[in-house]
């Protein structure tokens, strides 16, 4: 059974249809790239998977849990589904370490020491251990995005969603982020998407085109 199972979902913003009858299954460890033109609904699809956007029809199941069920505890679900945004969305008033340890501490109830240990480990994976006590404003865009990835990884999610994580970066900076993503694919966390066709390289096993289904 798929870890992420999307069955015939439809989503519209008001009268504007965005997703129409989209289905997709992602197995554990699988990397899927969702590609399509601007406005074809790639971000919307990802935002539906962790329940940031409600859907009007169909079902989304993550690890056996129905996302679009009023009884589902979205907070529990989101602990298992990490998302990295196009615009990083780091917390500007917190240091890198606090950005990473906040959710493990207050949501997962880890001790500060344990959370800091995890922060060191995930920062090491994105190659930024020395930035533990820096603030987001002191980092470059690429570094900020790597911290955002580390922040998600620290929750040890079963699924990672990457929403055009390099599109806000200069071409020189996308490389460092892509390297982190490729290394991550080997660690058994599925997910991801980008409209940059160079982006899903070795780890890619499946790709989904969204464009055809739109405005049908």
């Amino acid at each position: 059974m798929s870890l992420v199972d999307i069955q015939a979902i439809s989503k519209s913003y008001g009268s504007l249809p965005v997703l129409k009858d989209v289905s997709l299954g992602v197995a554990k460890g699988e990397v899927v790239a969702v590609i399509g033109r601007s406005g074809s609904g790639k971000s919307t699809l990802l935002r539906c998977i962790n329940g940031l956007e409600p859907i009007q029809a169909g079902t989304i199941t993550v690890d056996g849990v129905r996302v679009n069920d009023p009884k589902t505890d979205l907070r529990k679900l989101r602990q298992e589904v990490g998302i990295v945004f196009q615009s990083f969305n780091l917390f500007p008033h917190l240091s890198v370490c606090e950005n990473i340890t906040l959710a493990p501490r207050v949501v997962r109830k880890q001790s500060p020491d344990a959370a800091r240990e995890v922060a060191r480990e995930v920062l090491h994976r994105v190659g930024l251990e020395e930035k533990l006590d820096a603030y987001p404003s002191q980092l470059s865009g690429g570094q900020q995005q790597r911290v955002a990835i580390a922040r998600s990884l620290a929750m040890r999610p079963k699924v990672m969603l990457f929403d055009e994580v390099t599109s806000a970066l200069d071409p020189e900076l996308t490389g460092e982020v892509l390297k982190v993503l490729e290394a991550g694919a080997g660690s058994g966390r599925p997910g991801g998407h980008d409209h940059d066709p160079r982006h899903p390289r070795d780890g890619l096993r499946a790709s989904v085109r969204l464009a055809r289904r739109l405005h049908a």
Binding site: N50, K76, R78, F85, N89, A103, V106
Partner: protein, 216 residues
């Protein structure tokens, strides 16, 4: 018997100013507690709660503070609730202040980007955790200058409590003027004492605004 306006009268005025400060402090605490609840209720997902709070704010902001003082001080005893001038003033100023602080703080809360809420929610944080760890800490910086400005208004507005017989600075001024028959000298002194209390706060508010501008 007419006596002259002497330094001992000035000492009495300064002593009465303590009650102005005490009323300001009490009213500010009441306004802040109630105002925080109102601000959060105004951005809550529960629509009827938002309407109810909005109605409260419009009514309070659309009616004179003096009328509230009279309603509470002269009106409540008719309903069998006896109130002394101090309690009546504390309640009236808290009601008045909560409506203004509630709006000031709501503005500060909604000035934080939607994406900060989303990033926090995506890490599995509850609504109250998002507010406490992410949204409120960032909005405090924005809220401080207008809050200090409001505090200055509050100090001056406590003079209205003189109308219900609370002996604070203005009431003491009235009594002294009646006894000495030197209203010009007395009320000029009263104005100076208000100025000495308000001016440092105004300056502080200005410098905070400048600091925030630089930070942006």
């Amino acid at each position: 018997m007419i006596r002259t306006f002497s330094s001992i009268d000035v000492m009495y005025l300064v002593a009465a100013a303590r009650w102005t400060l005490a009323l300001t402090a009490t009213a500010f605490c009441g306004s802040a507690l109630l105002g925080l609840v109102l601000a959060i209720a105004r951005i809550s997902p529960i629509a009827p709660l938002r309407w109810l709070v909005a109605a409260y704010i419009y009514v309070v902001q659309g009616t004179p503070l003096l009328v509230w003082l009279f309603v509470i001080f002269f009106g409540l005893p008719l309903l069998g609730v006896s109130v002394n001038p101090w309690l009546a003033a504390a309640i009236a100023f808290s009601v008045y202040g909560s409506a203004f602080l509630g709006e000031i703080w709501r503005g500060a809360l909604i000035s934080i980007a939607r994406t900060q809420w989303e990033a926090a929610a995506s890490l599995g944080m509850s609504m109250s955790q998002q507010l406490r760890y992410i949204i409120i800490p960032q909005s405090v910086r924005i809220a401080i200058p207008p809050t200090v400005g409001f505090l200055v208004q509050l100090i001056k507005n406590t003079s209205l409590a003189a109308t219900i017989g609370l002996v604070e600075l203005t009431r003491e001024g009235q009594l002294t003027a009646a006894g000495t028959y030197m209203p010009f000298a007395v009320f000029t002194t009263v104005a100076c004492i208000y100025f000495v209390m308000c001016f440092p706060l105004t300056q502080w508010s200005r410098s905070l605004e400048r600091k925030l501008d630089v930070a942006r």
